[in-house]
Amino acid sequence: MRTIAAALVLSFAALAHAQVTKLQYPPLTLTGSSLSSKVTYDPGTQVYRYEYTVTAAGANKASISEFTIDLAGIVSRPQLDPSLPNNIQREETVVGTFQPATTVPVGITVPNTGWYGSMSVKGEVTFGGLYPATRVAPGTSVGGFVLQSKQPPGPRTATLMPSVEVWDRLPDPPEGVEYEPATSDTYAITLSTIGPIDPSDANLYSGGGQQPAEVNKFLRYAQPLDNRVKVAAGITSYTVIVYYGQTIIPSTFSATLNGVDITAQFHQVPASAEAVTITIGPGTTKLHLSVDGTKSSGGKATDSDTLTFLPQ
């Protein structure tokens, strides 16, 4: 016979806590900030140079203290390459390597000694401002962040993060008052940028059209990945990442944008890649690229691609 049918509940936290006033941490908004990139290639060293500039929107509620660029790759390799220069003491030489072995190796250059660059356990490079004065204050820009890599460019994800100085300066609340837990990651903004990638057939687009396949690979693209590209309304530029085949004949290369010759904007070095930003819109924009190359049989052939940009 049970005299107690109800469950016995032993509540360790059954104390009636006094009513607590909750405060919210102030916002650390970075909306409107941007990260621009510029990619160059040195045929002599076969090293790509990726230079970044961070621009903080004037309406930001905090400085930009750091930004990251995803460098995840697919090939395991040593993470330090002596031929890729650094102007910082790399953490790998002091405390160890923490990023995955498949991360794309890079050399890291920071604008000044107020910044440091390191690799995250997820294979991101992080540029971080060490001192409040060196971080990117609202309405300012800081450039001179450089990655050097033997890997060609491709689309990458960047994340801009806010400084938490504003929160660090808050006084501790009195008894009975507390802040709702928060993380500044909430205010991070994610952007598309360009960085080194491990290229493969899976992440390169041939542009379509030509046969045989080897001809179609004279010109390939890491961005876009289709010959019809929808772009958001109001977007006025687009960065095309072109991969040139090993056997192209550079002198035969031509590029037109809506029929206007823009060949001079390209630097068609065989077995290299480059990122070229073109103007698009307001209506449909057609970019036509063409190059001759030598087939494995010794004969010549032409690869011509037309990329169409469709503002939405």
Partner: protein
């Protein structure tokens, strides 16, 4: 009725030094069972194991005691000469029926020409008085023609023998009042008459129910605490539901259920063992030196059937069913620690006084947290701090957190130029078994998190060799390396806290594992 099946006698002898005796030894270190009538005697001879124990005058009552052996492993071992582990039974003491045996104990005796001991145990009669001779045994010593003592079942020559008669307790033994006594006769010379039998030792005692006649069992132990009052910080597992288990009380003795027994189940928290124990006081750290208000399960009045336990816990009344069973569901709160459960019958039990169960300890905690111990390499860039009352054991984390801290500390270190590199101070992580980490020992937040070994706080003091006062940790850089190391920095309720925790996937996996 004499119960011969359960009588055992340990004969532990030593040989007297001397040529004559040595010549007589023929069975040293051998084991020979000898049947004497219907009572089994087992003996083993020892050369020197008990030498020096001869006490010629020690035949007084003070040399005897009535003892119990809790388990079979505690029994005397005839073959090794071990006297076992006995516990003396005081006059009037109750011996639980699940003890392995009861018996007499005495020390050494010098030989006389002849000695006779009779060991009697009287069971209760119909009136409850110990008058029924229930068990009996005797042993006997004489002297051979050479003057050597001869003990029952033992070759002549031993100068001292301990007899340790004991009886295994069985379910046929009647509960109630017992009496044990030793009757002794002797003569010093062959020409003397045997002395009048005299009771030289007597002990009255009681046989009670088995110590587990009122027994507590729990279906799942340990169980995890809840995280229901705060957010874990992991979006896919923001709260940890309460841990539950079934607590059972059974009343039975000798495998016979005893039904309809009313009892009180008392639950108190651990106050001196593992888990969440407050040590000392928070002192100035929390702005108060007031005494710990007590463990928080004291607030039980909101629960039907419960009442406040003066010991600081809860008391629940129940009655076993006709099969001797009762059960209920126990639900954990947010604090880790040991729950100590005892059930006591509210009235007479099996004709004796109220019976109390053995103490049952139920652990509430996140099991598997490991203390963060710094390797020599880690001491380059990390140090431990914050080991303060009332929680001096504040550095427990999941293996994932402990490794996260290693990476994080290394990363923070290498950010700074040479000469500015130092050690990051690891402050509070989690308690030994997790659960609410009430910094001030008053069962209130903060900490809001730090529940299951996924969180760590850092000291503001960054210890750089040769630099005083120590530089302060840069919160923004720390936030960055928290992220680089695979986690994230979080503000708890106090803005100045330098709090980081492992990433979403890892934290979710840790809590999932710990709350199985």
């Amino acid at each position: 009725m004499l119960n011969e099946e359960t009588l055992h006698v340990a004969g532990l002898s030593s040989l007297r030094s001397g040529t004559r005796s040595i010549e007589r030894r023929s069975g040293d270190h051998t084991t020979v069972p000898i049947e004497k009538g219907s009572t089994r005697f087992l003996f083993r001879r020892f050369d020197a194991l008990v030498a020096g124990r001869i006490k010629p005058d020690d035949i007084t009552a003070s040399g005897y005691s009535w003892v119990r052996y809790e388990t079979s492993a505690d029994l005397p071992n005839f073959f090794t000469g071990s006297e076992g582990n006995h516990l003396a039974v005081a006059t009037g003491e109750t011996v639980a029926r699940d003890n392995a045996a009861v018996g007499f104990y005495r020390c050494c005796f010098a030989p006389q020409y002849e000695q006779v001991w009779t060991w009697n145990v009287y069971a209760p009669d119909a009136s409850g008085n110990p008058t029924v001779l229930f068990q009996s045994a005797s042993n006997h010593q004489t002297t051979d023609n050479f003057g050597n003592p001869c003990w029952d079942g033992i070759s002549c020559g031993a100068t001292s023998v301990d007899y340790l008669p004991f009886w295994q307790i069985g379910c046929t033994w009647k509960l109630g009042n017992y009496k044990s006594e030793v009757v002794y006769q002797f003569r010093s010379l062959q020409s003397d008459p045997l002395s009048t039998a005299a009771v030289i030792f007597q002990r009255t005692w009681k046989l009670g129910p088995s110590s587990n006649a009122v027994a507590i069992s729990v279906d799942k132990n340990p169980i995890h605490p809840a995280v229901t009052d705060q957010d874990t910080g992991y979006t896919s597992l923001q709260r940890i539901a309460v841990g539950t288990t079934t607590v059972r009380v059974r009343t039975a003795d000798c495998n016979v259920a005893i039904g309809n027994v009313a009892f009180t189940l008392a639950v108190v928290t651990d106050d001196g063992g593992s888990g969440h124990v407050h040590i000392g006081s928070a002192g100035g750290r929390c702005g108060t030196t007031a005494a710990d208000p007590g463990v928080p399960i004291h607030d039980v009045r909101t629960f039907a059937g419960g009442s406040s336990n003066p010991a600081g816990g809860v008391m629940i009344s129940g009655t076993t069913d006709s099969s001797g069973n009762w059960s209920t569901t126990l639900t954990t709160g947010t604090v880790a620690g040991n729950l100590k459960l005892t059930a006591t019958t509210t009235g007479a039990f099996l004709g004796g006084p109220p019976a109390t169960s053995r103490l049952y300890t139920l652990k509430v905690g996140f099991i598997g947290l490991q203390e963060k111990v710094l390797t020599s390499a880690e001491t380059t860039y990390l140090y431990l701090t914050g080991q303060k009352d009332p929680h001096p054991f504040n550095h427990y984390g999941s293996p994932e957190l402990n490794d996260y801290i290693r990476i994080l500390g290394a990363k923070y270190y290498v950010n700074w130029p040479l000469g500015q590199r130092g050690q990051l101070g690891i402050n509070d992580m989690s308690l030994v078994f997790g659960g609410l980490f009430d910094v001030c020992g008053r069962w209130t937040v903060p900490h809001q998190r730090h529940r299951g070994g996924t969180d760590v706080d850092f000291s503001h003091d960054y210890l750089v060799p040769g630099v005083t006062p120590p530089p302060q940790v840069d919160g923004t850089v720390l936030k960055r390396v928290c992220r680089e190391a695979g986690g994230f920095r979080v503000r708890e309720s106090i803005p100045s806290n330098l709090h980081c925790q492992v990433d979403q996937a890892t934290g979710t996996a840790v809590f999932t594992r710990l709350s199985q």
